[in-house]
């Protein structure tokens, strides 16, 4: 059987290959598009939006159903829901991102130290993480806020702390996997210092699972913040935040369901799109990298 010559494959770097595989996953791309739209929305409202209109009460206009002037209607204080939604996106996404970065930083340090040094250090650190893991995340966050008082910073801290153990484990396991590879020994064989081994060899290769975890983590954080705000321990009114919007709307949900459906849908969409991206990344990274 004669098979005609085809042009040789273009050489691709690993990152390009991963992106190529990610693109093939329809659901993951959908998640990416939705999430990008939310980000754009948050950016747009930061530049062009009128924050005052989102928090100033306007009683004569209260509880209006969706119309041309107010595409999502108004809440019980007459505020336009759409604009509160968009500002809510800004808050959820930025707090979510910031919290993730904090817990990623702290978790990575702990996980990296545990993985790289091993032995007693590993044992000690991981057992401390186990203690934190034993406490349900939301409960832990609530306890911290209750102890330190309300406020944006405390909220961030509380949520970040509850997420640290998960990161520490993922980072530790990623580092252990990489350290088992021969190329690390090759680096040690020419006398490479520890810092260079970590920066040049371990981190770039451990990145994959860490990025996946980070993406999934933002979703969890958004949920966490919304939950805290819902019970009144998070962001307090009148700041528009999806969780507190849910909380405010719950008393009237029987007759004005749009008050809770819309912030609820927003939370669901954000979390779902992030999960799809995270799963898509994991699949794109995972088995086929090992030829």
């Amino acid at each position: 059987m004669e098979i005609t010559r085809k042009p040789a494959k273009r050489k691709r770097s690993q990152v390009q290959l991963i992106w190529f595989r990610f693109q093939k996953n329809k659901l993951a791309m959908l998640g990416l598009i939705v999430f990008t739209l939310m980000v754009l929305m948050a950016v747009y409202v930061s530049i062009f939006g009128d924050y005052e209109s989102a928090i100033t009460m306007d009683m004569p206009n209260k509880l209006q159903t969706p119309s041309a002037a107010h595409p999502f209607g108004t809440d019980q204080f007459g505020r336009d829901i759409l604009i509160r939604m968009m500002f809510g996106a800004r808050i959820s996404l930025s707090v979510g991102l910031l919290t993730m970065v904090l817990s990623l930083a702290a978790g990575s340090l702990i996980g990296a130290a545990a993985g790289y040094y091993g032995g007693k250090v590993d044992n000690l650190l991981m057992r401390v993480m186990d203690v934190f893991l034993a406490i349900p995340g939301t409960l832990l966050a609530i306890s911290i806020v209750a102890a330190l008082g309300q406020g944006m910073f405390n909220l961030l801290l509380a949520t970040a702390v509850s997420q640290i153990p998960a990161f520490a484990r993922v980072v530790r396991s990623a580092i252990l996997t990489v350290m088992g590879q021969d190329y690390i020994e090759a680096a040690r064989a020419c006398g490479t210092r520890g810092s260079r081994i970590i920066l040049r060899h371990i981190l770039p290769n451990a990145m994959g699972p860490i990025i996946v975890q980070a993406t999934l983590n933002i979703a969890r954080t958004i949920l966490g913040i919304s939950s805290l705000s819902f019970v009144g321990l998070g962001i307090s009114p009148p700041t528009p935040e999806w969780g507190s919007m849910l909380s405010e709307g719950k008393t009237m949900m029987r007759y004005y369901p749009h008050l809770i459906l819309i912030p609820g849908a927003a939370i669901a969409l954000a979390v779902m799109s992030l999960n799809l991206i995270g799963d898509g990344l994991r699949d794109a990274l995972d088995p086929r990298l090992k030829n």
């Binding site: 050489k11 690993q14 090759a186 040690r188 020419c190 490479t192």
Partner: protein, 321 residues
């Protein structure tokens, strides 16, 4: 008489396990002359890989000495080792895990040069990389390729280029061709032999494949459960293997020639015993067809049975009969 480049005296490496002390390398004496190749042969669990890494101090020895040019490097400090590193390098078995997947071929080979600061300007470093790629037979068009785009044979060439980048004198080759196809194995073996001739390298060639080691080694050491049981010039080992284990090993190799089947009698029975807290006595005794009660009580020492031929077996205590 020149000092051998590498010598080990009673080299030991023990690992602590929950079940006891694992004697991976247990009192090994070796010497390798500059420019020659010592083949270290044995099956899984014999400690040959651990031996190679312990000599390089990639693994810290538990006891004994490693002499490089007469100096005991087993007791060197970190600073002293930093000067020695570029004289001793290693080539790994697995062409997949031995290269950093995030670095291009050029960066992988350049990395040791950068770490050891052999050249400073980028241009000089890259020129050296080009030279090395040429020496190992890698086309320059692969400079910016990534490991996952290349096959096992080419990856192994990258590993060799990386090991040679710092201009070492001694290279430990840890099963460098075991993971490759037969026709590629032959290419890489020829390359290693040519490099040794051109650059005056000294090799410790670790493998489980006796047929491979015959071609490349001047001397062969056979290892069993952490100990060296026989050591002699390469050709002599095949002409006259003395230790029962060596004989069994040679008999077990399937020869690509049609022969009548008379195997069962020669096939060695049993499996290797536990390397954890080994009992005194010859470690091969449980499987040895010639074992006697004395073999189980006394540990045989590596003695010269005929000129240049060392064997650790009770049979040859008074020399060859």
């Amino acid at each position: 008489m020149n000092t051998p480049l590498i010598q080990t005296r009673e080299l030991k490496k023990y690992f602590k396990t929950p079940k006891g002390m694992l004697h991976a390398v247990d009192g090994v004496d070796l010497s390798i002359e500059a420019g020659s190749t010592l083949g270290v042969v044995g099956e899984s669990g014999c400690g040959k890989s651990t031996l190679g890494r312990t000599i390089l101090r990639l693994i810290e020895p538990t006891g004994g000495e490693v002499l490089y040019n007469g100096q005991n490097i087993a007791s060197y400090s970190g600073k002293q080792m930093a000067l020695i590193h570029k004289e001793m390098q290693i080539i790994f078995q697995d062409p997949f895990s031995s290269l950093n997947p995030r670095m291009s071929v050029r960066d992988i080979i350049a990395e040791p040069i950068r770490v050891c600061r052999l050249y400073h300007s980028k241009a000089e470093i890259y020129r050296q990389v080009d030279r090395l790629m040429d020496i190992v037979g890698l086309a320059s068009r692969f400079e910016n390729a990534y490991p996952h785009e290349l096959d096992g044979g080419r990856r192994q060439r990258i590993g060799i280029a990386r090991a040679l980048a710092v201009e070492p004198k001694f290279v430990v080759c840890d099963e460098p061709v075991s993971a490759l196809d037969v026709s590629i194995q032959a290419q890489i073996l020829n390359l290693l032999m040519d490099l040794q001739d051109d650059m005056g390298l000294t090799y410790m060639f670790i493998t489980h494949d006796l047929s491979v080691v015959k071609h490349i080694s001047n001397e062969i050491a056979v290892m069993y459960l952490g100990q060296c049981v026989e050591r002699v010039a390469s050709a002599r080992l095949f002409e006259n293997p003395l230790h029962p284990y060596t004989q069994a090993l040679l008999a077990a190799i399937p020869v690509p020639k049609l022969m009548p089947r008379k195997r069962s009698a020669n096939i060695i029975k049993g499996e290797i015993s536990n390397p954890i807290d080994p009992k005194p006595g010859c470690r091969f005794a449980p499987r040895c067809p010639l074992a006697c009660p004395r073999c189980r009580e006394e540990t045989p020492r590596l003695l010269e049975a005929e000129k240049g031929h060392f064997v650790a077996c009770m049979q040859y205590e008074g020399g060859i009969k």
